[in-house]
C-alpha cells in the first residue's frame, strides 16, 4: 500500500476535536446541575424576611427570634451597656467598628446570634464584657456584639433590618 502523508487537518482530526469539545460541554452541563442542586432552594430563599414586635421587650432583655433558620438577638440595651460599648477604645477591638455603626437606634442592638468562629449560639449577659460568651470555644463579645477575646475573627453579623413602626422591626 502506498504511504499516505497527511499534513493538513483531515477528517479524523476534525472528529477527534469535535467529539472532545462536545464531550466537554456535556460533562460540564451534567456536572453543574448535580452541584448546584445543593444550593439553598427556592422554599428556603422564600423565608427571607421576619417581622418582630419589639414593644414587649424590657430594658436589659435579649429576645431570640428565628430568621432564615438562624437565631437573631434583639437586645434592648440599658444606658450602662450603651456607655460601656461606646467607651471601648478602637485599639482594643479585633474587628474595629464604632457602636454607632452597629445600632440604628442606640437602645436596640440587633445581631445574628451565631458565633463567627464555628457557628454556635453565644450566651447573653455573660463573659467579661457582659455582652455574649460562646461556650463552644470561648469567644467573648461586648454589648455591641463586637469580638473582644477568643478565636472568633469577626463581630457578630448585623442582619439587614428596618423599623416599620416604633415597635415593629422587619429583619431581612
Amino acid at each position: 500500500m502506498a504511504e499516505i502523508i497527511l499534513d493538513d487537518p483531515n477528517r479524523r482530526d476534525f472528529l477527534y476535536i469535535a467529539t472532545g469539545a462536545v464531550g466537554a460541554v456535556l460533562v460540564g452541563g451534567a456536572v453543574w446541575p448535580l452541584i448546584n442542586q445543593m444550593e439553598p432552594d427556592a422554599s428556603t430563599l422564600a423565608q427571607a424576611t421576619t417581622e418582630v414586635d419589639i414593644g414587649g421587650i424590657a430594658e436589659g432583655q435579649i429576645v431570640t427570634i428565628k430568621w432564615q433558620g438562624k437565631p437573631v438577638f434583639v437586645r434592648h440595651r440599658t444606658a450602662k451597656e450603651i456607655a460601656d460599648a461606646r467607651a471601648a477604645p478602637m485599639s482594643a477591638l479585633k474587628d474595629p467598628a464604632t457602636d454607632e455603626s452597629r445600632a440604628q437606634k442606640p437602645e436596640w442592638l440587633i445581631v445574628v446570634g451565631i458565633c463567627t468562629h464555628l457557628g454556635c449560639v453565644p450566651l447573653g449577659h455573660q463573659g467579661p464584657f457582659e455582652g455574649w460568651f460562646c461556650p463552644c470555644h470561648g469567644s467573648v463579645y461586648d454589648t455591641a456584639g463586637r469580638i473582644r477575646q477568643g478565636p472568633a475573627p469577626k463581630n457578630l453579623v448585623l442582619p439587614p433590618y428596618k423599623y416599620v413602626s416604633d415597635t415593629k422591626v422587619q429583619i431581612g
Partner: protein, 426 residues
C-alpha cells in the same frame, strides 16, 4: 493476587467456572495459599477485624435505614421509634452506634501498628496512602452518621464541623451555605447527610479492595521488618492466619458485645437525647471521641483559619510519613530511639484526646498548645532526624531466624550481621 495461581479445581463444576471466570483461583491465591510472614503477631489481626466491622456497619446500617426518616421534624422520633417499636431495633441501633466506635478503636490500633513497625515504608507506600484515604472516608462517614439522630450534639456538631469550611478565604461562606443547602443546618442538610452516609461506606469498600490488592503485591510487613527471603519465612494464609484472625476477631467481638449490652451509651452524650434546637447551643459541645485529638489541635490555635489548617494538616501529614521517615529500618524493635519517640507520640495523641474533651479554658488551653506543638515536632523534626542519627540494632538474617532464635548455629548469626550490614544506616 501476585503470581500465577496454584489452584487446581477439584470438581467438574469448579473447572467449568474457572475456565470462564477464574474467581476461585483468585480467592485461593489471595486468602488460602497466600504466603504470610510466619512471625506476624496479634497486631496484624486488626485488618481482618476492620473488614468485619465494615460489613457489620453496612448490614446494620442498611436495616436501620428501613426504619429511619431523614426529615428534620421526624428524624429524632424515628430513632426513638427504632428503639421502642421496631423488632430488635434497639439491638441494631446499639450495634451500629457502638460499631462506629469499635471501627475506630480497631483502625487506630491498625494505624499505630503500621507506625511502630514501619509498615508504610518501601515498597508499601501506596498501601499506606490508600489506608489514609480509607481513614478520611471513615471520618466523613462517622461524622455524618452522628448527625442523623438529630439530637443537640448532632445538630451542633454538624454546625461546628461544616463551619470549618467558612474559614476558607473569600468563598468560605458560599461553600458553607452550599454544604447546608440553606442559611443554617436544617432539613436540607440532614437529608443530604443521610444520602452521603449511605454512599460513603460503599466507597470505603471500593478503596478497601484497592488496599488489599496493594497489600498482596509486596505481602504483609512483619514484626522483624525484613522481607521474606525463602519459603521457610512464610506460612499459608489458611489455616494459620485464618484461625489467628478468627480468634482475635472473637475476642474483639466479646469486647464489642460488652459495650452493646452493658454500656451502650457510654460513648454517647446525654445531650444527644434532646432534639436539635437551632436556637440553643449545649453548654459543652464535644465531637465523638475518635475526633478529639484533632479537635484539640483545632482549638489550640487562637486563629480561625490557622486552627482549621493545623487540624487538617495534622491528618494529611500522616500521609507523608513514608517520606518523612528517613530510616530504612522498618521495625521499631531494631530502632532503640525511635521506639521511645513512638511511645511519646502515642501518649501525645491520647493526651490531645483528653484535652479535646475538656472545656477550652485555663491550663487546658496551654497544655493543648504544647501537645499540638509536640505532635508536629514529632512528625516534622524527630522522625526525619532520628533516621539520620540513630544507630539501629542488628537485624536478624531472616524471618525464620527471628522466630526460631539463633538455633541454627553461629554461622547463621554471622551471616545475619553480614547481610544486615548494608541496611545499617539508621
Amino acid at each position: 493476587m501476585s503470581g500465577p495461581s496454584t489452584y487446581v479445581p477439584k470438581s467438574a463444576a469448579a473447572r467449568w467456572l474457572e475456565t470462564r471466570l477464574p474467581i476461585l483461583g483468585l480467592v485461593h491465591s489471595s486468602f488460602i495459599a497466600f504466603p504470610n510472614p510466619r512471625n506476624l503477631n496479634y497486631f496484624w489481626t486488626f485488618g481482618g477485624i476492620l473488614a468485619f466491622m465494615l460489613v457489620a456497619q453496612i448490614a446494620t446500617g442498611v436495616t436501620l435505614a428501613m426504619h429511619y426518616t431523614p426529615e428534620s421534624t421526624l428524624a429524632f422520633s424515628s430513632v426513638e421509634h427504632i428503639m421502642r417499636d421496631v423488632n430488635y431495633g434497639w439491638l441494631l441501633r446499639y450495634v451500629h452506634a457502638n460499631g462506629a466506635s469499635m471501627f475506630f478503636i480497631a483502625v487506630y490500633i491498625h494505624i499505630f501498628r503500621g507506625i511502630y513497625y514501619g509498615s508504610y515504608k518501601a515498597p508499601r507506600e501506596v498501601l499506606w496512602l490508600l489506608g489514609i484515604v480509607i481513614y478520611l472516608l471513615m471520618m466523613a462517614t462517622g461524622f455524618m452518621g452522628y448527625v442523623l439522630p438529630w439530637g443537640q450534639m448532632s445538630g451542633w456538631g454538624a454546625t461546628v464541623i461544616t463551619s470549618l469550611f467558612s474559614a476558607i478565604p473569600f468563598v468560605g461562606n458560599a461553600v458553607t451555605q452550599w454544604l447546608w443547602g440553606g442559611f443554617a443546618v436544617d432539613n436540607a442538610t440532614l437529608n443530604r447527610f443521610f444520602s452521603l452516609h449511605y454512599l460513603l461506606p460503599f466507597m470505603i469498600a471500593g478503596v478497601v479492595v484497592l488496599h488489599i490488592w496493594a497489600l498482596h503485591v509486596p505481602g504483609s510487613n512483619n514484626p522483624a521488618g525484613i522481607e521474606p527471603k525463602s519459603s521457610k519465612d512464610t506460612l499459608p494464609f489458611h489455616p494459620y492466619f485464618t484461625v489467628k484472625d478468627g480468634f482475635s476477631l472473637v475476642c474483639f467481638l466479646v469486647f464489642y458485645a460488652w459495650f452493646v449490652f452493658f454500656i451502650p451509651n457510654y460513648l454517647n452524650h446525654a445531650d444527644n437525647y434532646i432534639e436539635f434546637n437551632p436556637l440553643v447551643t449545649p453548654a459543652h459541645i464535644v465531637p465523638e471521641w475518635y475526633y478529639l485529638p484533632f479537635y484539640a489541635i483545632l482549638r489550640s490555635i487562637p486563629d480561625k483559619l490557622g486552627g482549621v489548617i493545623a487540624m487538617f494538616s495534622a491528618i494529611v501529614l500522616l500521609a507523608f510519613l513514608p517520606w518523612l521517615d528517613t530510616s530504612r529500618i522498618k521495625s521499631a524493635n531494631y530502632r532503640p530511639l525511635y521506639r521511645i519517640a513512638f511511645w511519646f507520640f502515642v501518649l501525645d495523641a491520647i493526651l490531645l484526646g483528653f484535652i479535646g474533651s475538656q472545656p477550652p479554658e485555663g491550663g487546658y488551653v496551654i497544655a493543648g498548645q504544647l501537645l499540638t506543638a509536640y505532635y508536629f515536632i514529632h512528625l516534622l523534626v524527630i522522625v526525619p532526624l532520628l533516621g539520620l542519627f540513630e544507630t539501629p540494632r542488628p537485624l536478624p538474617a531472616s524471618i525464620a531466624d527471628a522466630v526460631l532464635g539463633h538455633g541454627h548455629g553461629s554461622a547463621a548469626a554471622m551471616s545475619a550481621r553480614a547481610t544486615s550490614a548494608p541496611n545499617t544506616r539508621g
